[in-house]
């Protein structure tokens, strides 16, 4: 088991390292001098000399690469052109917001999706099932940003149930008691998380329905039925447990969807996370930020799938044993 874990960890690190290298070469193919703004105000000579020394721009590519790796290891991701401050600082502020959004959306996705899938499996082929099938198909096909705009319009601008953007109220938040602060955060989090969560839940529900139906037809379930257990016990007890494994896999694969979605959703809801940072930076050609967010997204995806693999292995010991070669 431990050997398998180490192997997975090594593979994850190798992937991140490869992406880091690819990003380095991508930057050096860019027009203009790498790490310096393209066509912006010419830098003060002392500042430019400082940047050149820091990044070793007059040295051969190999030496620059080593420096680049060293800088990354130190946490130095360069300076943002449009924000005039270290990229690491901007990421430090943005990543927690995206993680909060993604985790909440994932929770909604999982709970709602499982629930709907279970209901559909229980009422298989009856009218409720058909209705839910069509509904989940429709919701799953919606562009997330469009759903976000509609929800923002109806619940934010229209009914004023939720605020129209941001992560906390810039005025009141500091002065609220802890419970009030939590509520403030939840109110701001609700719409963006719901948008991503609903679409994800529709997909999960579609999958869960099939998975549960499959599990319900397995031998051990038939045996449970024969023993006289009630249908719901059968469903909840046996079928769900066996549908758990693929669900873990599905969750591990949901992270790229959430990160991709975050780029657009955070723009719609003015949620100051990694996605909005990247989207704003693209238009300003601020490639230190864009490349840094790409790296961060990669690390998150790799980390997420590593966790999913560990959970999977914990749930199914056969995997661990087979991997131990």
């Amino acid at each position: 088991m431990a050997a398998w874990l180490l192997a997975r960890l090594a593979a994850a690190l190798a992937i991140v390292f490869t992406v880091v290298t690819l990003v380095f070469f991508a930057i050096h193919l860019a027009p203009g001098t790498p790490f310096l703004p393209t066509g912006d105000r010419p830098l003060d000579p002392s500042v430019e000399a400082g940047l050149r020394a820091r990044f070793g721009l007059d040295r051969p590519l190999g030496a620059q690469y080593v420096r680049y790796l060293g800088a990354l290891a130190r946490g130095d991701l360069g300076e943002s052109f449009s924000q005039q401050r270290p990229v690491a600082l901007a990421l430090e502020e943005a990543i927690p917001n995206t993680v909060v959004l993604a985790t909440t959306a994932l929770a909604i996705d999982l709970l709602l999706g499982l629930a709907i899938g279970a209901v559909q499996a229980a009422y298989a082929r009856r009218r409720l099932d058909t209705l839910l099938t069509h509904t989940t198909l429709f919701v799953y096909s919606l562009p997330t940003f469009w759903l976000g705009l509609v929800l923002l319009l109806v619940f934010g601008q229209g009914l004023h149930w939720f605020p129209v953007g941001g992560v906390v109220d810039p005025v009141l938040h500091q002065a609220l008691p802890p419970a009030g602060r939590l509520l403030d955060r939840l109110r701001h989090l609700a719409l963006p998380a719901l948008t991503l969560g609903l679409v994800g839940a529709a997909g999960t529900a579609r999958f869960q329905r099939a998975a549960l139906l499959e599990a319900l037809n397995q031998g051990f379930v038939k045996a449970a039925r024969a023993k006289g257990l009630s249908e719901s016990r059968v469903l909840l007890g046996h079928a769900l447990r066996n549908a758990l494994l693929p669900t873990i896999t599905l969750m591990g694969l949901a992270l790229p969807f959430l990160l991709t979605g975050s780029v657009v959703i955070e723009t719609v809801f003015a949620w100051p996370g990694m996605g909005k940072l990247a989207a704003d930076a693209v238009l300003s050609r601020d490639y230190p930020i864009v490349t840094a967010t790409t790296l961060a997204a990669t690390v998150l995806v790799v980390g997420g799938s590593l966790i999913a693999d560990i959970l999977y292995a914990a749930a199914d010991p056969r995997v661990g044993r087979e991997r131990a070669r």
């Binding site: 919606l142 562009p143 099939a210 989207a279």
Partner: protein
């Protein structure tokens, strides 16, 4: 250019409906019958054919040029009427014409990107699955790297380093970033097919590896490829819409369903039709593609409908095989 788009529209609708009915009735093979038995498959196919017809016949259906600003003072943001079937947008452009030409762009990007990604994915997956050992290891490591970076960021990096891409380069870039899942699916299929007797026979007869792959192995993976392709078109269209919405995709004045929604974003309360119809169009096409892919899965591969716990053990990578049809929207 006709003044009344309703007539060609009605004709197209009728033709599409008739075609689908005909195909359903004439379905002879078991697979085709299973396809049409799937609940939403026939309507989904109809939706798809309708939009494809619209895209192809755009010059005949659209009454105005998509970028024509007809009367920037008098005809701004007009609601739907007989003259403007879906209303006009902020720049007094006919929403219906833009929708129809936008279908060319959005569908075109989706299809082209999928062609690139499916071709690459099939080739890589087949090579990895057939040759195994070193080739397999190297290629699958590459796939691991590719799967680790969410597609949208690669396009964002490309735009940030250069400039916004035209529709064709954008489609090719999306295709180059989207082949990884397909390759895993194909690899899994190829791994199982290569053990069959007819493949052994072909190899024994001395056929070259790629010939064996092309003629004997890949055809068995068609089912997976078709389902994967349908889902891929949907994904690529959604991705392009999102990119165009934030301004990093298709640039104005070329209409794409994504940038139409972006243009009309401020008018959600005052002129909802300008963003409602492109959004509905995207939803309709994606819905059709999902319905068709469901049908294809049922038709071509009825065993792989869901998770079989007995198969859950084994290589984690083969999880994708069973989740294959469901692994979408990345």
């Amino acid at each position: 250019m006709t003044a009344l788009p309703l007539l060609p529209l009605a004709v197209i609708l009728a033709c599409v409906a008739a075609t689908v009915r005909l195909l359903a009735r004439r379905a002879r093979s078991a697979a085709a019958r299973r396809f049409f038995a799937s609940p939403a498959a026939a309507p989904g196919l109809g939706l798809l054919l309708f939009f494809v017809a619209l895209a192809v016949l755009a010059p005949l259906v659209a009454p105005y040029r998509p970028s024509a600003q007809l009367d920037i003072v008098g005809l701004q943001s007009r609601p739907p009427s007989w003259r403007f079937l879906l209303g006009t947008d902020l720049f007094s452009r006919d929403v219906f014409s833009r929708l129809v030409y936008g279908a060319r762009v959005s569908l075109g990007i989706g299809v082209l990107a999928t062609l690139v990604s499916v071709t690459l994915g099939a080739a890589v997956g087949a090579a990895a699955g057939y040759f195994r050992r070193a080739t397999d290891a190297v290629l699958m490591r590459l796939v691991d790297v590719g799967l680790a970076v969410p597609k949208i960021f690669i396009v964002l990096v490309a735009v940030a380093l250069g400039r916004p891409l035209g529709p064709v380069p954008l489609a090719v870039l999306l295709g180059l970033t989207g082949w990884f899942t397909t390759s895993r699916l194909v690899r899994a299929e190829v791994l199982s097919i290569r053990e069959r007797e007819f493949v052994e026979a072909a190899r024994a007869l001395g056929a070259r590896p790629w010939r064996v792959i092309a003629r004997h192995v890949l055809p068995g993976a068609t089912a997976v490829l078709m389902v994967s392709a349908a889902l891929s078109i949907a994904n690529m269209m959604l991705l392009e819409a999102g990119l165009s919405f934030i301004g990093a995709g298709v640039q104005p004045p070329v209409p794409s369903w994504g940038n139409m929604i972006a243009d009309a974003r401020d008018l959600l309360t005052t002129a909802p039709w300008a963003s409602l119809f492109p959004g509905l169009a995207i939803t309709a096409v994606v819905l059709g593609l999902h319905a068709v892919s469901d049908g294809l899965r049922e038709a071509l591969d009825p065993q792989a409908r869901g998770a079989d716990p007995a198969l859950a053990a084994g290589e984690p990578r083969s999880r994708e095989r069973r989740l294959g049809g469901w692994v979408a929207r990345r």
